[in-house]
Amino acid sequence: MTDVNAPGAPAPRSNPDREHTEAEHTDRAGVAGDDAPEPAAARASGDTPTPADQDGTATLLRLFVRNLWSANTVTVTVLAVVLALVIGAVLIIVSDPDVLATFGYFAARPSDALTSSWAVVSDAYANLFKGAVVDPAAVRAWADGTGGWQPVFAPISETLTYTTPLVFTGLAVSLAFRGGLFNIGAQGQATIGVILAALAGFLLPLPPVVHLVVALLAGALGGAIWGFVPGFLKARTGAHEVISTIMLNYVAVYFLTWIIVQDGVHAPDRTDAISRSVDGSAQLPRLLGSDLRVHLGIVLAVAATWAVSWLLDRSTFGFELRAVGANPDAARTAGISVGRTYVLVMVVAGALAGLGGSNMVLGSTASALTPLVVAQIGFDGILVALLGRVKPWGVALAALLFGALQAGGNRMQSYASVSLELVTVLQALIVIFIAAPALVKAIFGLRAARAARLQTSMAKGW
């Protein structure tokens, strides 16, 4: 703890006694009685208050620095990402035979092993960044006129494209979480959503704007149906939603592989399992020209985030939902119909996941059904919801991070030949660390803080 606080502005120690009490005081404010204040550690934090800088800015700065290294949400999240990247780096090194060979004579020439390790890891992560945020080479090319503006914004566009469906599925999972339900079925709901959206997209002959709206609604309807089933079963029979949604995920997958090859759905000129393409009139328009893939879906995703946030915090249904999630028995006593709430929560969550699925076929990722058209968005949505602390805007940010990892991972795979699977590992690791803030706290010696625990501990059993 003494080391990690060293970056705090060193100031002359003029009044140790006074500092002691001051430190204890702020500690109590920041920690909210969670842990006993540690005077010794606090004293070492360095920002000694002298009579001269007793004004508000110094206190604010000091508070900021003190709280920065506590186990709050932001710090834990950032450190979880760092830890995941470190483990990812180890994986990159141990899975590279050439680098591993240099470790064979580590004792003789350690510099070889270290430089080659650094080279392979920095190459991978540099490409991860260039693929997700911005490529400096493209910026330079644009600046001296040899390149257009599109390559500069291409990484962001890719990131947003991957972000879009994750926002929807993440919201679907977190909304259910807030209502006390663990919706593992976002994958299945998205699958049924993608089917209905695609069917509406190529079977219905409709004018442009109407067609898109109908296709999106069809996708939402599909997801809502697939969410209704576990909600209804939970309300009527007590069937645990974790089990029923897992089962429905697989039913949906087999339904998808079946329907692709049916007459009228299967692409007539293809022999492999792929459906007809969605009409152009039902596709989400691209926002930045045809070269960049980012499409209207991201706007809808932001709107959905706002809507869910409004629903949770401002509407009667949101209040009932949170009441049921916090304590179903108390909610029932207060006159809220728990069963009805469960069904409604799952229907809304399913509709959101269905919209996420629709994005996979109406957006720029694909325009036809294939067995893998939904990718992993439902399962990733669970991770996104956890990372976003099941709050709507948190989910949106978490989806952005995951979208960036995905987009960067593609470049990492093609430029640094580090498999895209590393992204899955990183995502899982980040969430593992997020889910156990106590571990991150112990590793980095963070101060305890309020609200560090993931507020999703369902722990209700089957």
Binding site: I382, V425, I432, K460
Partner: protein
Amino acid sequence: MSTVTVDDVAVAVRPGFWTRERRVGAGAVLLGVVAAALFGSLATGADARFTFSEDAGGASVAVNGTLGAVLFGLVAAAAGAALLAGLRARWFIPLLGVAVVGVVLSFLCWQVSAAPAGQNFMPLVNIVRGTFILALPLIFGALAGVLCERSGVVNVAIEGQLLMGAFCGALVGTMTANAWVGLVAAALGGALISLLLAVFTIRYLVDQVVMGIVLNLFALGLTGFLYERLMQPEAARYNQPPRFEAWPIPLLSDLPLLGPALFSGNIFLYLALVLVVVIHVALFRTRWGLRTRSVGEHPTAADTLGVKVLALRYRNVLLAGMVAGVGGASYTLALYTFTKNMIGGKGFIALAALIFGRWSPTGALLAALFFGFADQLATYLSAINSNIPSEFLAMLPYLATLLAVAGLVGKVRAPAADGKPYVKG
């Protein structure tokens, strides 16, 4: 099933006429009559032959397709009627079995008799053997679930444990060129995922289902990553695992039908069957089993009596990982080389088998065999050009489990403390 619904309370107070047996009986009658009418009318007059061999030859039983479909459907309906009439509870399972088998046979009579000429036979040896092979990972996985969940830790990470076992088995087996070392490595690989599950759920109190889901993705990413980095470029060095050959058991393997199907398998088949028996006996007849079950039902009470709740949970979760890891190796050390995501959802069917088998080892075995049979049937039906889409047969395990948890086929109840972290004090 911790949620007590209004229905439960009502049933407890007033049993009424529509008991579980009667409801299931009514369903069986309906299903049997529909089977007799529908399958009977669709079946052809050709004979449906069930041969006791791997091909059309050898001893066989032949039934006229239409007759068989109607007859077996009516048998199922009769079993349902007996349940409806209100027989004693101990007849429930046998009669339910008769009803299910009747409907399946009625269906088979239709399908086999309607197959193209020359293919109107079903080689039972192939079917039984295929059922067991397909059920193997499910049996191991479901047993892993039993070990975990009986001691109160939900194991959604079966998929990840199987995958990690398959991967470690293939990797270490290839590098050492020794299948036994590979088997040990597979067990340790499964235990690694279990260790993470145990530490994070027991020590850090992370929600068990959340952790299970995340660990599945972790295992998927990790094995996929190492597969693409190591195994794909240099398959000869890292991904040509040695195989356990079939070990026919003397005498028993000469039995008709069961001999070639069941007693000529490899070590994994025998291991799975032995494990089912061992875990069943251990769970219900030993001190360890009593303690495990008490920790799963009421950890506080167990703690009061001096059982070390957390230590027992750690131990059982690790054991479960080893069992599942061996199950994963039943792929890579007997059948295939490792490929990305090669478990492909079997872990979740194993979870379904665990629930469908009501958290008991023997129940899990039967459920796993039923699911394996559905899987094998899909393969068989597509081989005889059936018009039944294989996708719908593949849905069967999941739909059956959905019905089971919805309480339509009797009530399934998890161990009471399943999924609840135990905090002392």
